[in-house]
């Protein structure tokens, strides 16, 4: 049978699972500092992430979704975007948000149960992390529409998980991006699990990138544990959106080395052997090997980096724990631009109730 159309999905990988290279590297990799920065930020991401898990385990943080093993995706996004682009993140994008200027303690505040934790700091048009799966994709398509209507050269980048690709929101947004040629980059962090549901129960397609084809846009699959490949793909897609107003989809194939969140126990549904296989392919060790081989990294640098990350994270935790409590009325003050008269009484009741609760907590005070 002869098809009318034939499609192929490019797969991008520079570093193999051992960190060896046998293909020519992209030109930007001659910037050694850039390579070092990619590495340093992945290590920082992991240090902060493991600290967050520890804080949850000791009752100092709420439920937290670890990014263990997926550092290359967040770091590549965070470093490839321009300041005035807009990031529409999901809940597993801590390091991307931090690299765009979010004070890292805000990540802890958010998962510690405070709305203020969604403040992105620098990139003030970025969206807060999105919890209802896939809904962020249409917001991103809307942000990109605004950019297009105003003829701007900015780009919107939105992230989601592999599970999110099963929701209509995903395909609807991709479809629109194609029809309207939006300056939109969609990055799927395909960590191969949606809580306990493995990818093969999410889709019968050979790749997630090929979903782009049905929307008439470019789709690329990259090795999500190869930070050079992810950075390169994201950069290329951002450029294409910026200069040619062409949307694209990137599927970064990573792996969730952690539980889904601290509330989950992956040992109930995931084979330890599978986990071991993927530990051998994780992004940081692989990239470190590459940098060592090229002479871009050494023991002294590694030691200094580890110390720096520990200090940074300690300072972040201190800032988190020291954050002053917000006024109780904040729970209603941001509901509307102006508090409707109908809610004034409730606002007062909120203040009174908080006092009663405070009194119960600190009977002496």
């Amino acid at each position: 049978m002869r098809g009318r159309h034939r499609f192929a999905i490019p797969f991008l990988q520079y570093l193999d699972t051992h960190g060896e290279v046998d293909v020519p590297l992209p030109a930007w990799t001659s910037d050694i500092e850039r390579l070092q920065k990619l590495y340093e930020q992945m290590v920082l991401a992991r240090t902060l992430d493991q600290k967050a898990v520890a804080l949850q385990r000791t009752g100092q943080l709420g439920t937290y979704p670890s990014t263990l093993g997926q550092e290359a995706v967040g770091v590549a996004i965070g470093l490839a975007m321009q300041a005035d682009d807009v990031l529409v993140p999901y809940y597993r994008d801590a390091i991307a948000q931090i690299l765009r200027g979010m004070p890292p303690e805000n990540i802890l505040l958010f998962w510690g149960g405070e709305e203020r934790g969604s403040d992105p700091g620098g990139a003030s048009q970025d969206f807060p992390p999105c919890v209802p799966v896939a809904t962020q994709l249409s917001h991103a398509a809307g942000v990109a529409t605004a950019m297009k209507l105003r003829n701007e050269s900015r780009v919107t980048l939105v992230t989601c998980g592999d599970g999110a690709t099963s929701k209509g929101d995903f395909m609807e947004s991709l479809n629109l991006a194609g029809v309207w040629q939006l300056p939109l980059v969609v990055v799927i962090n395909n960590n191969q699990w949606a809580i306990s549901v493995p990818l093969k129960q999410q889709t019968a397609a050979q790749s997630l990138a090929q979903k782009a084809i049905a929307a008439g846009i470019d789709g690329t699959q990259v090795d999500g544990n190869d930070v050079i490949a992810v950075y390169d793909a994201v950069k290329t897609a951002l450029d294409k959106a910026r200069k040619l107003r062409q949307p694209s989809l990137i599927e970064a194939v990573s792996y969730r080395l952690s539980d889904h969140t601290t509330a989950d126990d992956a040992s109930r549904y995931r084979d330890q052997k599978e986990l071991n296989v993927h530990w051998a392919e994780e992004p940081i060790g692989r990239f470190q090997h590459f940098l060592h081989t090229r002479g871009y990294w050494d023991e002294a640098r590694e030691k200094a980096l580890q110390a720096h990350c520990r200090e940074t994270v300690d300072a972040v935790v201190a800032a988190y724990l020291a954050a002053e409590a917000e006024n109780p009325e904040a729970i209603i003050d941001y509901l509307y631009a102006f508090l409707p008269a109908a809610l004034e009484e409730q606002r007062e009741a909120i203040g009174r109730k908080a006092e009663v609760l405070n009194g119960q907590e600190n009977p002496g005070a």
Binding site: P132, I195, V197, T203, Y269, L343
Partner: protein
């Protein structure tokens, strides 16, 4: 698969009684009982299979009944509700799980436009005997969108039943009733009390009645009306007040759509005073409907205005401030005192 309506024998392996169980275990028990009794019952949802649901409500069911009876779906709530409708129209009895009530919204189109209407628009030719289960409510320090109580949105839709158990025992009997009911039932599980208490559950397959309130304690001074997790706070307050000689009649609404106003009105006619407690925001809450109907039907017997203790009309705050939002025993007791002292 059996045709709907076919009488099935009760498997005797299931006639065991478990002495003590939590609310979430009662849900599992009811599901297991009914799956064994009726092979039209099919469970579907996100993570309900191997993982047994994120709250373990379907623990062990896929292992026992196989992956044709317990289906892990792709991540898509609109799809979960939509296929449940199609399956139900075919005579299956889908029991779908929405992982948290905060994620029911994509399913709402299917629920409102189809599940609630299928019988009516086909004049009874097709029907929709499905159950949609969802954990709901706050108080467990969960992340954003995991703590809301939006039962009023569902209770507003004609054609649905909305059922909220307040204990393990009720969860068992009401869930059996919901599955056996010939129409769509939204079964909202108060997750704050999923594991709060162990209660004796006779695993005898006995359903409790839908469309009826349960009077949990008889009293003469004031009728306290609530449902779900707030029944715990209400019980505590009623017990405390009893030691002071104040006699509270406590009504667990259980089926919040359609409302059994007869039980509530009869009680209020006796006590002359009524306080309604719900965790959901105040405006447009189910409490408003109950209050209106009490006023319509018991106006002359009322000795004080019907009062409500509710959540505030604001977005459910993240964990650190959820206690400010949540109605508590102090809120309930002080409103009861106000209502009792009204003159």
């Amino acid at each position: 698969m059996n045709k709907p309506g076919l009488e099935l024998s009760v498997p005797d392996t299931e006639s065991v009684t478990i002495a003590e169980g939590t609310l979430v275990e009662a849900v599992t028990l009811a599901l297991r009982y009914e799956m064994a009794r009726d092979d039209c019952v099919v469970i579907l949802g996100e993570d309900v299979g191997v993982n047994g649901g994120v709250f373990r409500a379907t623990e062990g069911l896929q292992k026992q009944f196989g992956s044709n009876r317990v289906l892990d779906t792709p991540l898509a709530e609109g799809l979960i509700a939509g296929i449940s409708i199609g399956m139900a129209a075919q005579g299956l009895k889908p029991v779908a799980e929405i992982q948290f009530m905060g994620f029911i919204f994509p399913a709402l189109e299917q629920i409102a436009c189809h599940a609630a209407r299928l019988r009516n628009r086909t004049r009874g030719r097709l029907s929709c005997p499905l159950v949609i289960r969802a954990p709901f409510g706050g108080g467990i320090r969960a992340p954003e969108h995991h703590s809301e109580s939006t039962e009023a949105l569902l209770a507003h839709l004609p054609g649905l039943r909305v059922v909220v158990p307040s204990s393990a025992y009720k969860a068992y009997g009401l869930l059996l009733a919901a599955i056996r009911d010939p129409d769509p039932v939204i079964f909202l599980e108060p997750k704050r009390i999923y594991r709060a208490q162990r209660q004796r559950i006779p695993n005898d397959g006995q359903a409790l009645p839908l469309d009826t309130c349960f009077t949990l304690r008889e009293g003469t001074d004031l009728t306290l009306v609530s449902w779900g997790a707030m029944i715990s706070e209400c019980t505590q307050v009623a017990n405390d007040l009893a030691t002071r000689g104040i006699s509270i009649e406590l009504i667990d609404v259980a089926t919040i759509k359609p409302l059994d106003m007869e039980t509530i009105v009869t009680s209020v006619k006796k006590t002359g005073r009524c306080v309604i407690v719900h965790e959901a925001p105040r405006a447009g809450g189910v409490g408003a409907d109950i209050a209106a109907q009490v006023n319509e039907q018991a106006f002359l017997e009322l000795q004080a205005p019907v009062a409500r203790v509710t959540g505030f009309d604001t977005i459910m705050p993240y964990a650190r401030k959820e206690d400010i939002y949540m109605p508590n025993t102090i809120d309930i007791q002080s409103q009861i005192e106000k209502t009792l002292n009204f003159s």
